[in-house]
Amino acid sequence: MDYAFIDSFRKAQVQNNWFLDLNPLSKLNIILILAIIPIVAKSWIVSVAVILFYFILATASSRIKQFSKVYIRLGLLIGSLLFIMRAMFIPGEDVLMKFGFLTITQEGVDHGIQFATLVVAICGALVFYSVATQAKDLMLALEKKGVSPTATYVILSSLQSIIDLGSMSKLIMESQKARGIETEGKAINRIKAFFPILGPLFLGAISNSEEKAIAMDARAFYAPAKNTHLRELRPVPLSEKIILLIVNLAFIGFIVWRVVG
C-alpha cells in the first residue's frame, strides 16, 4: 500500500509552486482581471501584452508545456479565423487589396487585429486557468465559501460526462464498424455514420443519469450531515491576501483611469 500517497491527504495538497498553490478563487480573481484588462483597454498592444503575460505566468508556474500545447493551437485557429473574417468584411475607405467581390481595407485589418487579439487574450485566461487549477480544487474552494455540494457535483459530473460521451460515441462507432457500416474514409461517410448514433448516445446518457442519481443517493449524497473533505486546501496566507488586495486595487485604479481619462 502506498502510504505516502495516503498521507498526502492528511495535510493540505500543495505543489510547491507560488502560483499553483494560490487558492483557486485567488487565481480566478487574478485571471478574471487579466481577461477584463484588454476589454477595458481596447488596444491590441494591451491584448498582446496580456497574451505574453500568460506565457510568462505559465512558465513561472511550470505549466508552459500544457498551456502552449492547447493555447497556440486554439489561438492560431480562433485568431486567424476572426482576423480574416473581420479584415475581409469590415468596410473602409483605405483599400489595400481586392479579390473579386472581397475588398480588404486598412480599417478592416485594424479591426481584425484588434478583435482577434482581444478574443485570443480572453481565451488565454480560460486556457491558463484550466491548466493551472484542478476543477475539483475550485469546487472545494467554492464549497468552503458556502456553495452547495449539489451545485459543485453538477459541474464536476458535467465535465466528466463530456469525457464519458466521447468514449461512448467511440464505442458505438466501433460497434457500427464491426457490423460492417463504413465509418471511415470520405467526410460524407463519416457524417452518415455519426448522425444516427446521436439518438442512442444521448438516450443512453439520460438513462445512465437515473442510475447515477441512485448511486449518489447510495453514497449518502443527500444525508443531513455537514460534509467533510478528504482533500484539503492550503489556508490562505497573509501574503496571498496582500497580493490579491494590491492586484484588485491596481485594477480598480486602472478602470477609474480609463473611465476618467
Binding site: 500517497f5 491527504f9 492528511r10 475539483k136 457535483y153 448511486a215 449518489m216 443527500y222 444525508a223 443531513p224
Partner: protein, 282 residues
C-alpha cells in the same frame, strides 16, 4: 427483531399497467442474510429498490400495503436518512462510480465525506476497506478508467466503508472472475458475522446455499417460495420457477434416480462430502 416487514405490498412503476411486485408479505429479521433468487424479469431489482426505500421515494409509481423499516412506514422515512441506514450496491458497476473523483481512494471516501466523518477516522476506514477488498494496487488509479470487475469491487468497497446496518446487494459478482467472487463472498460472510442484515440477489445459487440463512424466490413479482435455505434450495419445484438447483442438490436428486439416495437432499459441497463419507464409512 424485525428490521423490515412487508404487509400486502404491491407495486406498479409509473405509466405501467402490470404490477412489478404483488402481494408481498414477509418479516425480515435483524442480523440474517437473505438470498433473493428468481429468473430474469422476476422482480428482484424492484424488490431491492423497495427494501432500500427507493420505492416510493425515487420511483414514485403506485405502492400499496405497508413497508415497515424498523417499524416505521417507508413513506414516513426521510429518504435522505435511509441512505445512512441501508447500503445499496446495485448490479451495474459502470454507473456506480461517482465520476467526480480522480483516485479510487477518494472514490471510496466519498460516502464517508457525505456522512460528515472526520478526516482521520475517514482515512482509517478507507484503508481498512482497501485492505479488506485487496484494492491496494488500485488506490491511485482513476476509477473512471477501471475494468468492469474492478469498478464492481470499488463500488462494493465504497458502500462497505459506510458501515450501514442493512445492506442490499444486487448481483455483486456479475462482472467478477471466480477468485474475486470468492473474495466478495468471504467479505459478505464477515459482514454477516458482524451482525449486519444482508439482502443478497445472486444468480449463483451455490453461493446463496453457502451464505444465506433464508431464501426468497420471486416469480412474476410474487414470492413463490421462501423459508430456510435448506428447505428452499432442496425443493425440486425451483426448476419450474426458472431457477437452477445448487449442484449439490442436483447430485442428490441424481443419486435418488439411481436408487442410491442419500438420507437428505444436500445443498452445499460440504454437506455432500459429509454424506459420501457416511456412505463409504470414512
Amino acid at each position: 427483531m424485525n428490521c423490515i416487514s412487508l404487509k400486502n405490498v404491491s407495486y406498479k412503476y409509473p405509466y405501467t399497467e402490470e404490477f412489478a411486485l404483488q402481494e408481498l408479505n414477509y418479516a425480515f429479521e435483524t442480523g440474517k442474510c437473505y438470498g433473493i433468487i428468481g429468473a430474469n424479469g422476476s422482480g428482484k431489482t424492484t424488490f431491492c429498490n423497495l427494501l432500500r426505500g427507493m420505492i416510493p421515494h425515487f420511483f414514485e409509481g403506485d405502492l400499496t400495503g405497508d413497508v415497515l423499516i424498523e417499524g416505521k412506514d417507508v413513506r414516513n422515512w426521510d429518504s435522505n436518512l435511509l441512505s445512512t441506514k441501508i447500503g445499496y450496491i446495485f448490479q451495474n458497476p459502470f454507473t456506480q462510480i461517482s465520476g467526480i473523483k480522480d483516485t479510487v481512494f477518494e472514490e471510496i471516501a466519498l460516502g464517508l465525506e457525505n456522512l460528515g466523518v472526520e478526516k482521520e477516522e475517514l482515512i482509517d476506514r478507507v484503508i481498512e476497506v482497501v485492505k479488506l477488498l485487496k484494492l491496494e494496487q488500485l488506490i491511485k488509479k482513476n476509477p473512471n478508467n477501471l475494468s468492469g470487475g474492478q469498478k464492481q469491487r470499488v463500488a462494493f468497497a465504497s458502500i462497505i466503508a459506510m458501515n450501514n446496518d442493512i445492506l442490499v446487494i444486487d448481483e455483486p459478482t456479475s462482472q467478477l472472475d471466480p477468485e474475486s467472487t470468492a473474495e466478495i463472498f468471504a467479505i459478505i460472510n464477515l459482514l454477516k458475522e458482524q451482525g449486519k442484515t444482508i439482502f443478497l440477489v445472486e444468480h449463483k445459487v451455490d453461493l446463496i446455499a453457502e451464505y444465506s440463512d433464508e431464501v426468497i424466490v420471486l416469480k412474476d413479482g410474487r414470492i413463490t417460495l421462501s423459508g430456510s435455505t435448506l428447505d428452499v434450495l432442496s425443493n425440486i419445484e425451483l426448476l419450474q420457477m426458472g431457477v437452477m438447483l445448487p449442484q449439490a442438490a442436483m447430485l442428490s436428486y441424481d443419486m435418488q434416480k439411481a436408487d442410491e439416495a442419500f438420507d437428505t437432499i444436500a445443498i452445499t459441497k460440504s454437506q455432500v462430502i459429509e454424506q459420501i463419507k457416511q456412505r463409504v464409512g470414512v
